[in-house]
Symmetry: C2
């Protein structure tokens, strides 16, 4: 029982799905229910639906006016008006009123003149059936109004009711039981201790099931106990259309799920050649699909999309959503394993009409990268990867239009980018900011390659003491501008109370340090300070340990994974750390001069120059505003 299941299979995604759908497809039961038409939005029809009544059900006036006998009006002319008497020659009709024999035509209210009580004049003859909607014009009783397997829209509800259909048979939403498992997981809201993992996947699945046309039923977490898991799955297989077991699908010591499923039913697949998302279990228990999903959020998400969604689509009889696929140029090389299909999260930006996909963090645990991503780039099995500049297909999950209205920022990280990103769509409807953090130099190189509009940078020229300008001049040979940003206080972040008594950079040797990645302005500043103090990088324990953002450095110090790191005041403050000032630095924005005309850039500048923006940064602390928003032409 404590044996590890070391060996998962490595079945390709398509083959795994095909095998599973073949096994399950034969026994899949779609359930139906009869519901009221007014509650049928988004539901899928079982049968074709035929109209019970015609619409209109009688010859109906199409206008407000008077119904007449067309033959009797044949002499009316502009020059020879005809006088008609109410009751005898005409009746008043409003739109939708019946036009009854012998009346067969309607003259619009605008075209008549009242000449006395119950007397009117007309100035033109009326053609038969003019302004009359004949019975069945819209809907004819007996005609097919909706086909089978049709997802009902608002207009369909209107037409169904008009045609006398007050209830109809639709596919019952598949009911999906969701079991979080694991001794280490705790419920959201419980204060976590070290080793605890807040259970969050099941609620994500619940929402994904709802989006897929099903109803998710999330059960409380089950600890890693063979019998408990077995009983829960067995009972759920009796009562639900599908069961999801989360985590325990890998091959760890306490991964019981596959053993339980082998005992209860048939395991069709254990392990799929996909990254992230490999440890998937596809099984059938008592004729119901029971799927074990991996525990890492990103793996869980991808495995759900690949395997749970097709089953849901089958059981809910819905059309699979059209993939929102675009072709984009990859900004950085993506290396991939030949053995897996890999889903690489990408940010997608549109710069000068070209779609650019920038790969994000690839760890299976990096759920935030899914939140930040605009879509997936799929690197297929037997493909070693993609070179920078190559075109790839990207499955977007953000509307293409939104991407085209986004200012793309790549470069040094600062929390002010999040603040601008938050303010932008609020102030400028349908305008967005996306930011990717690769350090100052990385951003300037991305800008050079045309992958972004703006590169935030804080690179010190050690000779002149001037920030940024010399770097831009050296890299670019076209008209550029530097938008002055903010002054930031950089410093050393240490634990509260500064227990190791670190006072300057020269106190860092011998302490556990965490550095920023190569090309980051903070690292350049740190190197400069080391040089000033005559300290070699080799003397720094952790010089090669890299974190990608100020907050990540702060978190490592706060978590006692390091004793100190360099960063900005706001990050230290956010994590409750002490902060030893090293000095201010200039955090600016580089961009092409011709991009100044873009509406998104204008909006960006407007925000940068606004008082709201400065107020928000002042609240964070550690910023100063000397010439924020000033444009320097280079």
């Amino acid at each position: 029982m404590t044996q590890r299941n070391l060996y998962l299979s490595n079945t390709p995604v398509d083959e795994a799905l095909e095998k599973y759908m073949e096994a399950f497809g034969k026994i899949a039961t779609v359930r139906y229910e009869t519901i009221k038409t007014e509650h049928s939005l988004g539901r899928v029809t079982r049968h074709a639906t035929y109209a019970k009544y015609s619409s209109p059900m009688y010859n109906a006036s199409a206008m407000d006016g008077v119904a007449v006998v067309s033959e009797a009006t044949s002499t009316a002319r502009e020059t020879n008006p005809l006088t008609l008497k109410k009751g005898k020659d005409y009746v008043i009709v409003d739109t939708g009123d019946p036009v009854r024999h012998p009346f067969d035509s309607v003259i619009m209210a605008e075209d008549i003149v009242e000449t006395g009580e119950d007397m009117i004049k007309i100035f033109a003859s009326a053609a038969p059936w003019e302004n009359v909607r004949p019975v069945g014009e819209d809907i004819v009783a007996g005609e097919m109004i909706l086909p089978s397997n049709h997802e009902i829209r608002p207009i369909d509800i209107g037409v169904l009711l008009s045609a006398g259909i007050t209830e109809l048979e639709v596919v019952k939403r598949p009911q999906v039981a969701i079991f979080p498992t694991g001794t280490e997981i705790i419920e959201p809201g419980v204060v976590p201790k070290e080793g605890d993992i807040i259970e969050s996947n099941s609620r994500m699945f619940e929402a994904m099931v709802a989006q897929g046309g099903g109803e998710g039923f999330r059960f409380p977490p089950i600890i890693d106990d063979y019998e408990l898991i077995k009983n829960a799955i067995s009972e759920a297989a009796d009562n639900y259309d599908m069961v999801i077991v989360n985590a325990g699908s890998s091959a760890g010591t306490e991964d019981y799920t596959v053993h339980v499923l082998r005992e209860l039913g048939e395991v069709i697949i254990h392990g799929v050649a996909v990254k992230p998302g490999k440890p998937v279990i596809l099984s059938i228990v008592k004729g119901k699909p029971v799927i074990g999903l991996p525990g890492y959020p990103v793996s869980a998400y991808i495995a759900f999309e690949n395997f749970v969604r097709p089953v849901l689509t089958l059981l809910s009889r819905r059309e699979e959503g059209a993939e929102n696929e675009v072709t984009a140029t990859v900004s950085r090389r993506i290396v991939s394993s030949l053995k897996h299909r890999e889903y690489v999260r990408v940010k997608v930006g549109s710069v000068d009409g070209r779609m650019i996909a920038s790969p994000l963090a690839r760890g299976a645990g990096a759920a935030m990268s899914l939140v930040r991503a605009d879509g997936f780039c799929i690197i297929d099995l037997n493909c070693e990867g993609v070179e920078a500049g190559e075109k790839v297909k990207v499955q977007l999950y953000r509307p293409k239009e939104e991407i085209e209205n986004t200012v793309v920022i790549i470069g040094s990280h600062d929390m002010l980018l999040d603040i601008i990103g938050d303010m932008m769509p609020n102030l400028h409807r349908n305008m967005f900011v996306s930011s990717t953090h690769v350090g100052s130099l990385g951003g300037l190189m991305a800008l050079k390659r045309g992958e972004c509009h703006i590169a935030p940078t804080h690179l010190l020229n050690e000779d002149t003491g001037v920030y940024n300008i010399s770097y831009i001049k050296e890299i670019f040979d076209e008209p550029m501008v530097l938008i002055k940003g903010v002054h930031r206080i950089q410093g050393i972040m240490v634990k509260p109370g500064n227990p190791l008594n670190i006072k300057t950079v020269s106190d860092i040797p011998g302490k556990r340090f965490v550095n920023r990645q190569r090309g980051a302005g903070t690292r350049v500043l740190f190197d400069y300070k080391l040089k000033c103090e005559g300290i070699s990088p080799q003397d720094i324990n952790g010089y090669d340990r890299e974190a990608a953002t100020h907050m990540a450095v702060a978190a490592l110090v706060a978590g006692d994974s390091a004793d100190c790191g360099m960063g900005v005041y706001s990050a230290a403050k956010a994590m409750g750390l002490d902060f030893i000032e090293v000095g201010p630095e200039e955090y600016d924005f580089a961009m092409r001069a011709r991009h100044l005309e873009l509406p998104g850039i204008k909006a960006f500048l407007e925000i940068l120059q606004s008082d709201d923006f400065k107020d928000a940064l002042t609240k964070l602390g550690g910023y100063a505003f000397a010439n924020t928003g000033e444009i320097i032409k280079l």
Copy 2:
């Protein structure tokens, strides 16, 4: 009170909306509520949300394996394995377990060999922090995880919970009161009498409000009574975020709504230059938007989209959905009034890679045309229309991919087209059929212009007695095929019991006839029969009264709007009419020979040749199958 409000204004759509939003925007109140994170799918955040906890919250193992002290493993080599003792040199860790000081690295289970109880061998040194996810790798406490005004997705729910956010403030769904009004309307389910209109718009609005992020509350219909309407609106304005009053927004005798709204509040706009959808009332009562929508379903739909949706978007703070817009070639001339923006419903087909938009019925009452349409083509104010062959922008409300997978059929109408349309996506996933009814000759001309794949036709050559072939040969000068379809019994449809004792075509003069449109095969057959009998079209009362389908003819006879008409048996049977056989005819399918290779056409042929298809037609009656599915090359 019985005065008609003859004069609506004719304000352009954009101007009307701008005026209204300006008036309402100033006083609009967005409401908020705090809900549990797990219930937040699709909701819109009020504020930016910041992480409470980091994820991981501690240095966590990224693998199943053993945690070691990296420094202590530095001598391990393939050729010089190192033996480690449990507890002292290593601890077993599963994925997600904490890696505690002094351990700082994890070796994967696959890379170790158990050599005895609590003893393992390793064959390579471990680098510091290898296979360890540092605290905050995914989410750092204090960082912004979601911006304000963000519509929550499943992955966001996962990340919020992981970050310790168990509830959050979101925009409260705007609550919209919906009042159907009108003395003539009846509730769905009530058996209608002449003059009754089944109330269906309010349920369509309810669904549209739900799609727009609000909650619709539909009230029972109110009769046309000034005080009743006034009290209902006044009370609703106190208790709801928005009020919709349906019908009574025009200028008819019993259209009280505008008077009520003038008494209760301020009417900003009454009448908009849009077709259909002109009689709209935009008003504000007690600070709440109260909108009067027209009664015709299509007008109601368009007016909702133009005016209710923007208000809902404002109150729900959602992004407006990106329009799914394509450029298409118009198949027929569309004439439009200079005075209105006109929304023309179109079917859109993709033939030989070209998008073709074919206008559908334009009446405001034609709700079925909305169901059948694939989108709208907008003819703007001050534009007289569009010529056939011109390119237009079409707002699709069907996925573009689906349109590209659709076999486009234009020509003579038969119920078998509905049956094929229903069978197609059930048998061939993601393959569709669309059919437009313009008569046999009209279909051949559309085929000639490259607007469809298939033209169903039943045109008799009066000289040879052979159906269809001579027409195709005359019209086309490229390789064509004729797919043999079915034999249909054509006849005269009369009221049950045949009260006027009509026995042949020669009995029709003196009776009220309804004809098919020019170019319809049935009309050609009727003309042929008239000629045989020596009867002149002028002797037929109703020769110029045209209906577009067999079912429409049958409905007019059943509704006593005509005494007789020509059509097929199945239509007569569906409407409970008597049927006098005139003779069988051959209903076939013309297409280009090269299109035989298209997957959609292959699927079409497969269905045509199937027993299921024949069974379905046999149930309808009036069909025979001589050589159904046979391909004749021309």
